[in-house]
Amino acid sequence: MKFTLNGQSVSLPKQWREDRLLWVLRDHFNLIGPKYGCGIGECGACTIHLDGEAVRSCSMTAGDVEGASITTLEGLQNQSGQPHPVQKAWMINNVPQCGFCQNGQIMTAAALYNSPEKKSDEDVIEEMARVRCRCGTQVRIQKALKDLKLGRNA
């Protein structure tokens, strides 16, 4: 079972097809970007990109990504190792507090940023709002999103 992971072609045993993708990424590939927060797709800490779209790896199986291109937080920087504009905005605005949810925040924002089709401001907020943060970094997330001009009306 093959797919592309952060630009590299990888393969997995067929019998892992039904395994939760989050655990395959962490326990097999030792990637630390996508995090376990709830396991039911509610908090977004496990967010990755599947062919550019933000998806929740805790709610997917390894088989779901066969043939696809997966990017985790580790792979978000560009080929010369420069941070993604979302990562830069997050640092400039001192967004993270504990940091545990920030994989989800950054990957969701990055998918919106990278998408050729711009959503409305309300839809951007609604999508980002589905990623939970307990520390209360939302004020700074709002500021970073403004800086990034993610919405169509921005």
């Binding site: 939760r20 655990w23 630390i32 995090k35 709830c38 509610e42 993270p96 507090q97 939302q138 004020v139």
Partner: protein, 707 residues
């Protein structure tokens, strides 16, 4: 029950700092004390182990405080940087480690800056002085100054490697430490300035392991614990029922009274749980079998203040308030890794009390203190919920059994099921106004669950003694800053089946909410402006509270505010733990669907000298967001034998769509530093509900609001 204490036990309790908490009478015959948290403030003799200059020229600081998003790592880095005159990014900052950071108080109570920054500043300055003496001695003449640039040192305009002077590495003796006052200086290069600490870059880019679950040790196994309620079949039968493929990957073991599944991959553990039919089924919440707060809310067990008679034939205010239990809901479910062999027990974890954890493990594993090495890592949210659990001991027992490192991770369901939570509380406040519109009688009685003397930490036999004393955590914030005439404040801490414990601010959020709501209601009754009403009741010794109240009123244009049937403003203020001050104004709009939207929050905040302004501002924002959550969302469902709330689909708090713009002013920088991690929580909730009550015509007395 009367017990006497031998001298040695009494002095032990006093040394531990517990005498001041009220535990002075403890049964001793035949009983050994359980491990108790260390409560003493840091001393120079403890601090000398935290800072060193290594042979390479690197500044190594092993922190005494857990970083859980409150920004203490950044703050203490800046303190060391300022004291030593080094770039904060060049410091090798290591999270607490039991061989150098123990004994140390738990990272709770917003005390880290107040208690630790001054001694660390003195430590860093003394390190610089001692280095200067060493350089002078080596150079054979008096050197008056130097500058450090990374691994180099510049002396009299000549640069050379700092390592030139670091054979041996530099540690301080207690006698080397000159304690100097810790104040804001105009000449500060690092303190008080904008700063992003290096670990934040790791968080944002996943470039280095930061949290416990980011660590993968060679040959590590991973373990998941299972609920005892499904522990009916014999272990061997369960193991037999596993499909062949999983039999090779998973082992089922019992350690003490817990069943664990152990294997290399969590996917396999989950598959096993599913194939064996061991997943818990969701249970419908049933109503509580009893009202644990039944009975009157006066003549209660513990008296905080009892001055004069509060009896009246008629009260100008008689309100009952109720607030539900709440979860911590830290984003990181806890995990711990243990690597155990004959010589050593090595642990990686993230909890708020490394000292208590090591003590507990010494007893639980019957090992010597020196054999146990605990590494703290960054914590994905604590909020009081990770002061103590047995996860490290669980991991150690499994590692001992398997001869491999073992990582134990709680699921989100485990966090709700096995963790402890904020207790619910019920309050009654009665008050009268004199003809001048000043409060002349104030009676506040309340009941809540335990917070400090919690069943989560203490065995049953100690609970009965602490029941005599009154849980100070429950009482936090219950004695307001205001001067009333006759005052009676009393409470009862109730034991109920829900495990309860410290939650951000402890009793401060519920108690301040009730008090400030009563104040707003009395101001209205007296026909007075709530700002002026508060100022009339704040005594001279609490000028800082008056200042934040005046400041926030000015920030929000309180006197010129325009209210109507759709938009209203509310206000509240308070003091956190007698050390930090905040006042908040909320502008709230009623929506067409009957819900409420907070349009803006203004907060004036005084926690003295601020080391890291952006970090403190972030804490203020976070606290206010917790207030919004308590008003609209946060409710834990629990029953006589279990917590019904299982995961985040059933537990909500304030999110991106709820958070308004915030205008924050920090003040009081000329005062000694106190704390910001829990301060704004005293003033946010009542400001919001005050505004809402104007829009509905009814005082908000039950949280969370049902809309």
């Amino acid at each position: 029950m009367k017990h006497s204490l031998t001298l040695s036990r009494r002095s032990f309790i006093q040394k531990m700092g517990w005498a001041s908490a009220g535990i002075t009478a403890v049964s001793l015959t035949g009983c050994s004390l359980p491990p108790l948290p260390y409560r003493s403030n840091p001393t120079a003799s403890e601090a000398v182990f935290w800072l060193s200059l290594r042979e390479t020229g690197e500044v190594e600081f092993i922190s005494p405080r857990t970083e859980m998003g409150q920004g203490i790592a950044a703050g203490l880095r800046l303190v060391v940087a300022e004291g030593m005159g080094v770039d904060p990014d060049t410091i090798n900052y290591i999270h607490p480690r039991s061989d150098r950071s123990v004994p140390v108080k738990a990272t709770v109570g917003s005390e880290s800056v107040m208690q630790y920054a001054p001694i660390i500043s003195s430590l860093a300055k003394s390190m610089r002085e001692t280095l200067l003496k060493r350089i002078s001695a080596k150079e054979g003449r008096t050197i008056s100054d130097f500058r450090i640039f990374g691994a180099d040192i510049e002396i009299e305009k000549v640069r050379k490697p700092l390592s030139t002077y670091l054979a041996p590495p530099l540690f301080l003796d207690e006698s080397d430490i000159q304690e100097t006052p810790f104040t804001l200086e105009e000449t500060n290069r690092y303190l008080g300035k904008r700063y992003v600490e290096p670990e934040i870059k790791d968080v944002v880019s996943a470039s280095n392991p930061v949290f416990v679950d980011d660590l993968y040790l060679p040959n590590m196994l991973i373990a998941r614990k299972l609920s005892l309620t499904i522990f009916e079949e014999a272990l061997e039968d369960l193991q037999q029922r596993l499909p062949e493929q999983l039999k090779k990957e998973i082992e089922l073991v019992r350690e003490e009274n817990t069943l664990f599944l152990v294997g290399k991959r969590r996917a396999a553990l989950e598959n096993a749980i599913e194939k064996l039919g061991l997943s818990d089924q969701r249970t419908e919440a049933e109503p509580l079998p009893t009202d644990y707060f039944a009975g009157k809310l006066d003549n209660l067990e513990h008296s905080l203040i009892d001055e004069g008679s509060v009896k009246a034939s008629e009260y100008d205010l008689d309100l009952e308030f109720e607030i539900s239990a709440a979860a911590h809901a830290s984003m990181e479910p806890r995990a711990a890794i243990a690597k155990v062999d004959a010589e050593k027990v090595e642990i990686w974890t993230a909890n708020q009390d490394i000292t208590l954890t090591r003590k507990y493990m010494v007893k639980a594993l019957d090992r010597d203190e020196e054999d146990i090495l605990i590494h703290q890592m960054r914590m994905g949210g604590g909020f009081g919920g990770k002061v103590f659990s047995e996860i490290e001991t669980e991991a150690a027992r499994l590692s001992q059994r398997f001869g491999h490192p073992v990582k134990v991770q709680w699921t989100r369901e485990d966090e709700f099921r096995y963790g402890y939570h904020r207790p619910p509380s019920r309050h009654r406040i009665r008050a009268t106004l004199n003809p001048e519109g000043i409060i002349d009688k104030w009676a506040h009685g309340f009941k809540s669950g335990h917070v400090i003397f919690s069943s989560a930490f203490l065995p049953k036999w100690i609970q009965s003694f602490t029941d005599l004393v009154g849980d100070k955590g429950v009482a936090r914030g219950a004695v307001p800053a205001y001067s009333f005439g006759n005052t009676k404040i009393e409470f009862e801490d109730v034991r109920f089946p829900l495990p309860t414990g410290p939650w951000r601010g402890l009793g401060a959020l519920p108690n301040n909410w009730a008090i400030e709501t009563a104040i707003n209601t009395l101001a209205e009754k007296a026909g007075q402006d709530p700002v002026e009403f508060r100022l009339a009741h704040i005594p001279p010794e609490h000028q800082r509270l008056a200042e934040v109240t005046r400041t926030v009123a000015s920030m929000a244009g309180w006197q010129q505010k325009k209210e109507n049937s759709q938009i209203a403003y509310g206000i509240a203020c308070g003091i956190y733990k007698e050390m930090s001050y905040s006042a908040t104004i909320a502008m709230v709009e009623k929506q067409p669907d009957g819900r409420f939207k907070i349009l803006k929050l203004w907060t004036a905040h005084d926690c003295g000298y601020v080391l890291h302004p952006e970090g403190v501002k972030a804490q203020i924002e976070g606290n206010l967001i917790w207030c919004i959550g308590s008003v609209f969302y946060e409710k834990l469902n629990w029953g006589a034998d279990r917590v019904y709330t299982e995961n985040f689909d059933d537990y909500h708090w304030a999110g991106l769509v709820d958070v308004p713009s915030m205008e924050i002013e920090m003040m009081g920088f000329d005062k000694p530093p106190t704390g910001a991690g829990e301060t704004a929580i005293v003033s946010g909730t009542a400001a919001i509900t005050h505004a809402i009550s104007k829009l509905t015509g009814a005082v908000v007395t039950k949280l969370p609001m049902t809309l």
